[in-house]
Symmetry: C3
Subunit: 267 residues, 3 copies
């Protein structure tokens, strides 16, 4: 039976009072991430400039920061926003895209981590490297399995006092104490660019709904993605017909059915 | 019967001599806005850098400026382009996305308004706030109805000598003297990100066709959107299948039928 | 019969060992270009900042540079990346979008050309102007036919020691000595924004597979696009249903059938 923090319950709450989600994400992800948030029922806003990112973070229900197409100017906006989110008690989500690839990226993530994200979402290669492990990552795709990243995720969660999500074939979420695995989705999902980045934004939407329960909010976002992905995959002929069916499925996802279809296990 | 400035007539002219439309729009909107212009029959060009925005504005048939993902560098490009458009007698269209949200955004819109847009297009919350009223807007979505913004639109139109379009369930357009309402579209349209921003670019395309008749050009762009939206909605299963059907419908829209299907009323 | 550098053979190699392709492309193209690379089987990475573009270019298998939405900051990143690619022996591809339109753009392309691209891909107006001819280009669309650009392409290829591809109704590729024409595709392709820019990125993927054979790699990329385009067009109702069918067709393209369906001629 659904409890007060089940995926279906949180999705209902999200739709009843659509949270304003402040997203600083990469150029590849912006359009599809905004469409993912709208389909789920949230209100996205893409605001990155240092001149206003702090002011806006204080208005929004949550902030998400993704370093996909990073530059110095954007990094200043990210830091400004994360600091303002912290000062106004708003949770924020970090997506450390391919942070291992260059020195610029590694230094950026180090600075952002110090600003206290409530949730960190990455693929296995990213999470392993973030915890100081030997990741096989090179570009933006993961070259490691989720199960290889579980200990790294637990370590990161404890060190930073954050919820950490490793997404892949079976997702893994932990806050250092509790952990869960989420099954579902589709093998077509990694073939659609920026779906992972969009999921980070959706985590932001759920965390805005329940800032007091980032672990459950993250699980709910991942379960929502997984169920919508399964629904879409059943009729898709390839990655791009999957993509639009996925957004349709997300928009049409019945919150009360979500709990029945979500495949969650304690880990 | 269609007259010389009916939507169908203007769409025929647009397709007969595709205008080059210089768009400075936000990162979320760029791809779909370009596809909207191509589907309608226009030639889009996204050019924002201060180093060339002025030179390009003088080449193009019209300019559109949207402050969605604003930064200082882009604002300089916008001002340079708007000044050049003014000097070369080209009309330009302003889309003041969520200008009420931050001080940076409010100051930017104040400066752009001084540069004399031919058309201003926004949602009700944006238009109300732009006219100095008490808008309920917070993020990028409107929280006010179009009918609440009508007086603000008339005021803005008179003060700035511009055509003002308020888009929503039923659109409202005025040049301070005349006014029209356009029905149509679909409830799925606000669920697709950046369709409003794309409409701003399409207004630019129609204004390039008839720079001497910005009111009629704006009405034509809105009617085109509304009819294509209705066509697409009849077969859509959700926001994303609506999105691609909308672009297909726009590309297949019969200019001679447009006048029959457009639902315009003087206001 | 397929030889060692036929399109089908190269596509098989690409999928067997997905190359990491470093793309510096415009804001309109980023999402669809990444999806094109993923559908073909390559691994895209969009990295533009001067602070890391050089470091990343040395990691990647190939680099692509597209000046679509140029600015000074991005130009510095492009130059840094092209220099690093040269120093580490990685091939790079230049897409001189509408370089004739402004002085800023012309100067940028002059500097990039000096950095030795392995391949230059453009439409006819771009290639004619790049060779110093009288192009009819104005915005980003070509106003000249491919056949008018063939001599310009041969000249450019010889002067710069590069492979030059002119894409249009029938594509033309030359390295100054040899030349080929590729038929196929669809009249809907120019109605989808940034497909040409995406093709430039795909050329990068093929050149990463065979950096020793840029002419054959370019032909293979163009043939892949042409065959996927024909497949998609057979069921499309307009530009946007073509767009997603095209990505599905690219993902489902049988490498062994590609050689049978590709329509190549020596020129």
């Amino acid at each position: 039976m659904p409890d007060q923090t089940s995926p279906g319950t949180l999705l209902s709450h999200l739709r009843a009072r659509p949270p304003l989600v402040h997203c600083i994400t990469n150029f590849v992800a912006m359009n599809i991430a905004a469409n993912v948030l709208l389909a789920a029922g949230a209100s996205p806003a893409m605001v990155h400039a240092q001149e206003e990112a702090g002011e806006f973070a204080a208005i929004a229900g949550a902030l998400t920061i993704n370093i996909g197409t990073l530059s110095s100017g954007w990094l200043r906006g990210m830091e400004t926003a994360a600091i303002a989110a912290g000062q106004s008690g708003k949770p924020w989500v970090l997506d450390p895209v391919a942070h291992y690839a260059t020195g610029f990226r590694r230094a950026a993530v180090d600075r952002l981590l110090e600003l206290g994200p409530a949730v960190i979402r990455g693929n296995a290669s990213e999470i392993i490297a973030l915890a100081g492990g030997a990741s096989r990552g090179q570009g933006v795709d993961s070259r490691d399995g989720v199960e290889q990243a579980e200990e790294s995720a637990r370590l990161l969660a404890r060190v930073h006092g954050a919820t950490v999500a490793v997404t892949g074939v079976v997702d893994f979420v932990t806050n250092g104490e509790r952990a869960a695995r989420i099954e579902g989705g589709s093998a077509l999902m990694p073939q659609v660019t920026a779906l992972g980045c969009s999921l980070t934004c959706l985590v932001g939407a759920f965390v805005a709904v329940r800032p007091d329960a980032p672990f459950e909010a993250t699980v709910a976002a991942l379960a929502t993605f997984a169920v919508a992905g399964e629904t879409a995959a059943s009729k898709a002929d390839g990655p791009s017909s999957f993509s639009w069916r996925f957004l349709d499925a997300l928009a049409g996802l019945d919150a009360s059915l979500l709990d029945r279809h979500a495949r969650l296990r304690c880990a």
